[in-house]
């Protein structure tokens, strides 16, 4: 099974990526010394779905947050390059950054229960996201919000518009979040484990919506996940992170031929439905992975070590 569309059309976009990141680091000065959460990560995202996979603590979420400058106050972020369509995000003032956040880059988080305002109707929250970034009347914003609810395949937008977050299911809540994030028509969407809190049936529908929106609106998607299987089937390209670095980069369809010991170890530790074995392979962590070379597959496209 493979995801929609071959990405040959998207290859061309990589020449002028939406997002270009070079040598991004995030450090925390703690009483126990310097903790490096992200250590010199470089990648580009064009009009494509790029998956960032790794285990907890690998720095994948921190990478997404650093792009939006949403890291905690204590974090020291540095990068050689952090460009959105050629614009240097590092030089922007907090005020200018606010104009980027939500408008040009937006973010979908794991659990809609915690990321929606519990005392505001979901429709009004979507309309608000539009009003913050566009000069429009309440009525126009409402119309746009209803259109957006329809775009994320909500059957009765007028009814759902009036609901409070606690009245919607997990899958519907996540669609509301996606509607809210896409209404300002961003160029890049960062999705941090967007479907991990959802059941498989609902997950499939939410992913299909993201998939369609990425191809119809030509936006870039940074898809952060711990689920190798999902990333391999959903994304175009995959970056594998370990201990704050990208250790391997390949096309999603090539993930099963991954060469890095860590990636191989992760793949082999997964129980598989089509293959029964007595024992699962246990990942033997190699100290050399921390600072070893990044494995770059020939066809992996825009990512640099």
């Amino acid at each position: 099974m493979s995801s929609a569309g071959d990405s040959t059309g998207q290859r061309a976009e990589i020449a002028a990526p939406i997002l270009a990141v070079q040598d991004l680091s995030v450090r925390f000065d703690t009483p126990h010394g310097l903790v490096e959460a992200v250590r010199g990560v470089s990648f580009d995202i064009g009009r494509e779905k790029v998956g960032i996979v790794g285990e907890s603590g690998s720095g994948k979420s921190m990478t997404g947050r650093a792009v939006l400058r949403l890291t905690p106050k204590a974090a020291q972020v540095s990068a050689q390059r952090l460009d959105l369509h050629g614009q240097d995000l590092r030089r922007l003032s907090p005020r200018e950054m606010r104009a980027i956040r939500g408008r040009r880059i937006s973010m979908v988080l794991q659990d809609p229960k915690y990321s929606l305002n519990p005392v505001m109707r979901v429709g009004a929250q979507i309309a608000e996201a539009y009003l913050v970034h566009h000069k429009a009347t309440q009525r126009e914003a409402r119309e746009r919000a209803l259109e957006m609810l329809e775009a994320v395949k909500i059957r009765n937008p007028r009814r759902v518009y009036e609901l409070f977050p606690h009245e919607v299911s997990g899958g519907m809540g996540q669609r509301v979040m996606i509607a809210m994030m896409l209404i300002p028509e961003p160029e890049l969407l960062i999705a941090d484990e967007p479907t991990s809190a959802l059941d498989v049936t609902v997950r499939m529908q939410v992913l299909a919506i993201l998939d369609d929106l990425v191809s119809s609106r030509g936006l870039g998607l940074m898809f952060i996940s711990h689920d190798l299987n999902l990333v391999a089937t959903f994304c175009d390209r995959v970056l594998i992170m370990y201990a704050g670095r990208i250790v391997e980069s390949c096309r999603a369809s090539d993930l099963k031929h991954a060469r890095h010991g860590y990636t191989r170890g992760l793949l082999e530790s997964l129980p598989r439905i089509d293959e029964r074995k007595e024992r699962l392979q246990v990942l033997e962590r190699d100290a050399a992975w921390r600072d070893g070379p990044t494995i770059l597959h020939q066809s992996s496209g825009g990512s640099r070590p």
Binding site: M1, A208, D211, N229, T233, S269, P271
Partner: protein, 267 residues
């Protein structure tokens, strides 16, 4: 006779118009030494079955017989000892201000078993933790180590049945592999019967010999894993779970929205 026999288990929450049926006249039986998997999506009632069986919820109707004893809403100490539960979230299920030693002593004290010292060392050893872990607090342990402690706590009373409620869902895949291997080894080295609840069909088929698929409080399909993998799923809902577990598929997403599992024949 089966070790566990559940007949017409019915669990409902709420009153009048708020009444929700979580488990709807469910019957299943599990043989001694078997690993029985319950799979389904959130809200299907799989955890509710475990909680009723473990005695954590006394508000149920039906008949449950375990090791020849008919279970009532109130349990004797011996009945509690028979079945122990391991929960999903090792961060939430261990008291944050109790050391591993205290956590493991508590069930021994409640049961009045004495010989705590020997049992604790033995239980830690069984789950692959050395004695240095004994006086640590949960926050000093990783997620995988915590889940090992939770398993040790369940094993310390030498139960015949382990009720495992999504025991690896909160763990990274590499840690999941370690915990699943540990559960398989424990099963081999002593006579244990598992009921393993998970939403992950790949984990279930790896661990179990027989599985029940639940949807909306009902068992929609019961099959042996060999038959499931050999002949494929029979019920459309099981087939759907099976296909969805392979990852993202645009065409499958299309059909999902249109599927109506209700109108399909029940097995």
């Amino acid at each position: 006779m089966s070790l566990i026999d559940i007949r017409e288990l019915h669990v409902a929450f709420g009153e009048h118009e708020d009444r929700t049926v979580a488990v709807d006249r469910l019957s299943l039986s599990v043989e001694e030494g078997e690993v029985y998997g319950l799979v389904g999506e959130s809200g299907c009632g799989k955890s509710t079955v475990l909680r009723a069986l473990a005695g954590l919820n006394s508000n149920w109707q039906g008949r449950m017989v375990v090791a020849g004893e008919t279970l009532g809403p109130k349990r004797s100490k011996a009945q509690h000892r028979l079945m122990q539960m391991v929960f999903q979230d090792p961060y939430g299920s261990l008291h944050p201000r109790h050391t591993v030693n205290t956590l493991l002593s508590e069930p021994i004290e409640i049961q009045g078993l004495g010989t705590a010292d020997r049992r604790i060392v033995q239980a830690l050893d069984q789950v692959g933790l050395d004695a240095s872990f004994r006086f640590r607090y949960p926050h000093q342990l990783s997620g995988g180590q915590r889940q090992r402690v939770a398993i040790a706590r369940a094993l310390i009373l030498e139960p015949r049945v382990l009720l495992l409620d999504e025991p690896t869902s909160a763990l990274d895949v590499s840690i999941q592999a370690e915990v699943l291997n540990l559960l398989s080894e424990l099963k081999r080295s002593r006579t244990l019967t598992y009921i393993f609840v998970s939403h992950d069909l790949a984990v279930i088929t790896h661990m179990c010999s027989r599985i029940g698929v639940m949807r909306l409080g009902k068992l929609v399909e019961e099959t042996s894993v060999d038959v499931l993998l050999g002949e494929g799923p029979r019920h459309p809902y099981t087939r759907h779970l099976y296909q969805a577990s392979a990852g993202y598929d645009r065409r499958l997403a299309q059909t999902t929205a249109e599927l109506d599992f209700e109108s399909e024949p029940q097995p």
